[in-house]
Subunit: 363 residues, 4 copies
């Protein structure tokens, strides 16, 4: 259903980069979940630009909760959070109204909306809309934490610099969640930031891979067909701008293994059935098996770059060139991290509510 | 919605591997689309086991159309196709009722369904259910062809043997669609089959990667958030058993590129806006840009293998070993190919109907 | 979503009156619910034609469960039930292919499906499709009974003959559920049947009103906006052919009352909050209040009648007359009773599963 | 999906009576539809209280469009409209926090949301939330008008005073749409207002019936099962607070007719197939037949009244009495009129978009 996702817990997104505001409605969360506005603010802060490795457009992100929260707790009715747009330079986009930025949504938006789209700053396609996702996602993350379910994402790769893998997942997640540039190996983090500064200096951009772990989710969540955990998570993840790949567990490398290597043997340990390895990323047959959910998300390089690129001018269908003005991110991987956590949390709240009922999250 | 997927065109799956039948209902297809039962049969045939590289369980797949087709054409009402199960050896599964096959859905099904699941042959989680998807998918594929939209998938990789990439996409698709073992380079196909036979001889299995191209789809299809083309396709693809990764265009390798390399420059050629490269796989901002849609699907090795594996017996929660009996596929990549085509076709019919209306497909 | 209804428990309908079969898929029911095939058969029997007051087309209704049931219990996966069509006289409909039966769906089907509809016997619009709804609905009814929730419907009115109102609701429901012609006052039932025979003798038909009670449903089920209990039930009820009105509690007569008369005062009785009257039919603000849900469903007279009627011939757009041949019901109110129970049960299973989780029904 | 309704065009509602704001997101409307803010304001004005026959709480209803509109036209992306709450007297509700107003949602909200609901002024259940529906509905009404489809509702009945029926539907609709108290017979309108003043003087309230006509909608819209026009409209209508009955065409009175009287004969007139009567309210088999859609909506008397009523105090589960303070409507029928138009317009935009595609409304 277009800009709405989820069945039992759902989220609806609205807003344009240079319009009044961006916002989101999250519906279906249990009544009685504590809403910590400081935590929402800190999550928004993790998504905000960081020094030279991000866009100079810095928004205050003064979010406003319009509904669904009363006396500091969720009421069980839809929560709408709105974030006004303030620091907009709309004139930066006069040129791109007609000169389509390669690999951005300018052209497809123009075709889809017959020229009526708000073209300024990518309009409704802008990464800015993810601020609203992060705000409502923060409530979902809090709700999961109350049930002992924690989510963490690190920057697994920028260009060809790789962070170390998850080791002690619970400890790793806890360490990651307050970092502005979330890596498990701080040296690799510095190398990555240096790399980002290099491409920025060249008027270019760079992509990367995020790796996410979800810990302590019960077994038996998800559906065999269509609403498998992988299906639902990937559906949500692929709607984040710039995501071009999603894999679970060992993912694409599983494809090269034999079954005897790839399979995760079960064993009975301390009263619980676990698996010895976790190549399936905690999901068998689309259903959680109780092991950590592990997935990786490929983020393409920001398409808007200062370097001159070939493109078309749709006013006269002429071939032309474009060197983007405006304020752009040389890399959005580190900023996307908290967006990934947010959509994962919302999706898992949805699947958990389907299994355990609306009120489960607040019990 | 659990075993149902799609908004304007939707599919509902039912059936268990060793029950009466597997089947599917496809709803929302326009009235007046020709239904070619020979084509349905040939698609089912492409999914069936092939000689020594597949399971010895060979089903006749005598499908029956129960509704929605009248005088050889779709009526516009739901089409139910049923495929009876015939060649079942249910006793093969007496052991796995309690000894959970590693990385199969035995354990998660047991937890999710509290022990009431039909455990025989994987029950509702069985790849056999995809036969029904292929049957209804064949009608979607036919409908798209009538509009000039064609889909083709090749086995891009088995273990570490890689097929060549798509070159002339339209010609490549046409060549692929009648092959039982669909590769673009026949030598590589022979190598792959040899590899499959080797792992089979060792009581093992092997995975691979499928690559799909969709040609001649109009620009402007899909939604920016949540129902992006990538979101919808990945949602459908990840519900196919054994799929653990999905990537679009250059996918995960995009993550390592700079923007100036990754971006697909627009150019105006023969009255049409096209892109010079197609690293984004025909999708910008979640919306088709008119270039071929390209995606790759990672298929893990079949989890059921003859080799002995460690696991648990849930009768007494003891650690034990299991060497699977029954008839199993050493590789399902080549059989999954037509399943991928089917879910892609159904998903695209859904998105196209949203944009152009119910009747568009039949015009 | 077209021929599918429900979120957590959903039903998908397929089939045409004179095609291979009619059928339904019910998905989302908990695993472990007992499936009593005798009860399904008895429910189908209650829907079947009765002597002279119904159509002479009598179907054996030999239903077949294709999936989702194993060792006598639901597996938690989709249950498909198919009922083959046997006693079809398709030639009866050669004339109505072009002469549109007034107030039937012949004309609207022809416009909607561009002439590709299966016109025989009303095709997919036929009341025959409700047999499949009754079959899957029987499982929902059983599941609710296990939780102490019971549903019963009586023929409140045929023409201007009225049955008595519900008094002792639990006892009344129990008495109704085995009756072929379900009335609370048997004398009124005889008068109604006499009336039906009279209109039949005149080549005419007659409508009526059904009144339904649902007993012992917990308070707190439903949603304030859009998925209110009234919204969901009416959505399901209005898709039953011939239904033209739905009202809850005192319904339309509430509209003429003052608040002081219409309001249902709360009182605390034996440890429970109840209402002294039940003019709101057990629903306040779209949410159950724990009192019996009461609603009435208006059923129009069967549109197909032997009497000559004016209509058009769409071959040449001429005005013409039509005296329907074929086998028709002079009244369907008594047969619709069990269909109403079925859709109500499915809808309530859906709403209860949303609140209490998937497994609640089987606990 | 809880507080969201619709498939191709959908609406999501949020907000509480005494919170920050009420609001709605409408998604799926075509790009390029003109958005007339004066018309939105005038529709909101029609919903506002009128002199002595309404509540003294008068809100300015200063709506703000946050997204989806650019240069005066829809962009095709979600439109969020927010209406801040200003004139709130929250202390009026201190008593009803624990003393449940009979037939209001206080009790069911308390059960459903476990005491975490915003109880002030009915919270999310308040009729105030319909202001947001009216604001987004105004855009849907405008869009339909551009296609020649017009909607109008009159107060068919207050207590036992009846307005005349629709005669010349197009002219009647045009006359109604600017009236604050919408009746076809002005004398009856005065009688009704006198009646409302009488019940107000007695500290009581009164209900009524609204009758709606939709003119010039194409034939062939809707679905046979579940998403029938009646199902979809009733789903939307029954989510409006106080609605307890919905009937189409002759509705409940159809139930007492014979088929030969009830049926609407087709005839060919001036190149078009029409019906001589319209007892089916423009819908056959759930699909529009091209005649005006006619339906009636029963509105119960406002449950909050000044008269003393019996109820319970949930603090100690004692029986008590309540004479409501606060500002209440003695009748909401006249105010609900424009809400009915709004949900009807949104529902029809949804069904039309399903049939004709997203862009149809803007062509």
């Amino acid at each position: 259903m277009k800009n709405t996702f989820g069945n039992n817990v759902s989220v609806t997104l609205f807003g344009e980069s240079h319009g009044e505001a961006v916002g989101a409605v999250i519906d279906g969360l249990a009544a009685g979940i504590e809403v910590n506005t400081d935590f929402i603010a800190s999550q928004l802060n993790l998504r905000r630009p960081v020094g030279s490795i991000s866009t100079p457009r810095v928004e205050k992100d003064n979010f406003k909760i319009l509904s669904g929260v009363f006396e500091g707790k969720t009421t069980g009715t839809p929560i709408c959070i709105v974030i006004p747009n303030e620091n907009t330079h709309s004139s930066d986009y006069d040129e791109t109204r007609f000169k389509m930025r390669p690999s951005h949504a300018d052209f497809t938006a123009n075709v889809k909306y017959n020229g009526f789209e708000d073209y300024r700053g990518g309009g409704h396609f802008s990464g800015r809309v993810t601020a609203a996702l992060v705000a409502v996602g923060a409530i979902a993350i809090s709700a999961l934490r109350e049930k002992g379910i924690i989510i963490g994402t690190h920057i697994s790769k920028i260009a060809d610099i790789s962070d170390r893998n998850f080791e002690n997942i619970e400890a790793d997640i806890k360490a990651l969640n307050d970092m502005q540039f979330a890596v498990l190996d701080s040296q690799k983090g510095e190398d990555m930031q240096k790399k980002i500064n290099e491409v920025r200096a060249e008027g270019d951009s760079v992509g990367g891979v995020l790796e996410t772990a979800v810990c302590c989710i019960p077994a038996g969540v998800g559906e065999p067909w269509f609403d498998s955990v992988e299906s639902m998570l990937s559906h949500a993840l692929f709607s984040i701008p710039a995501v071009k790949g999603v894999e679970f567990g060992a993912g694409f490398s599983l494809a090269q293994m034999t079954g005897s290597v790839a399979n995760d043997p079960f064993e009975f340990v301390e009263g619980k059935i676990v698996t010895k390895s976790n190549n399936n990323g905690g999901i068998n047959g689309g259903i959680t098996n109780g092991m950590p959910i592990i997935f990786r998300t490929a983020i393409k390089p920001t398409p808007t770059i200062a370097k001159e690129q070939e493109t078309v001018d749709i006013r006269d269908n002429s071939n032309t060139v474009l060197a983007a003005k405006g304020r752009h991110d040389p890399c959005i991987v580190h900023r996307a991290r908290v967006v990934v956590d947010s959509v994962a949390a919302i999706t898992l709240c949805d699947l958990l509510s389907a299994k355990f009922g609306t009120d489960w999250m607040a019990k």
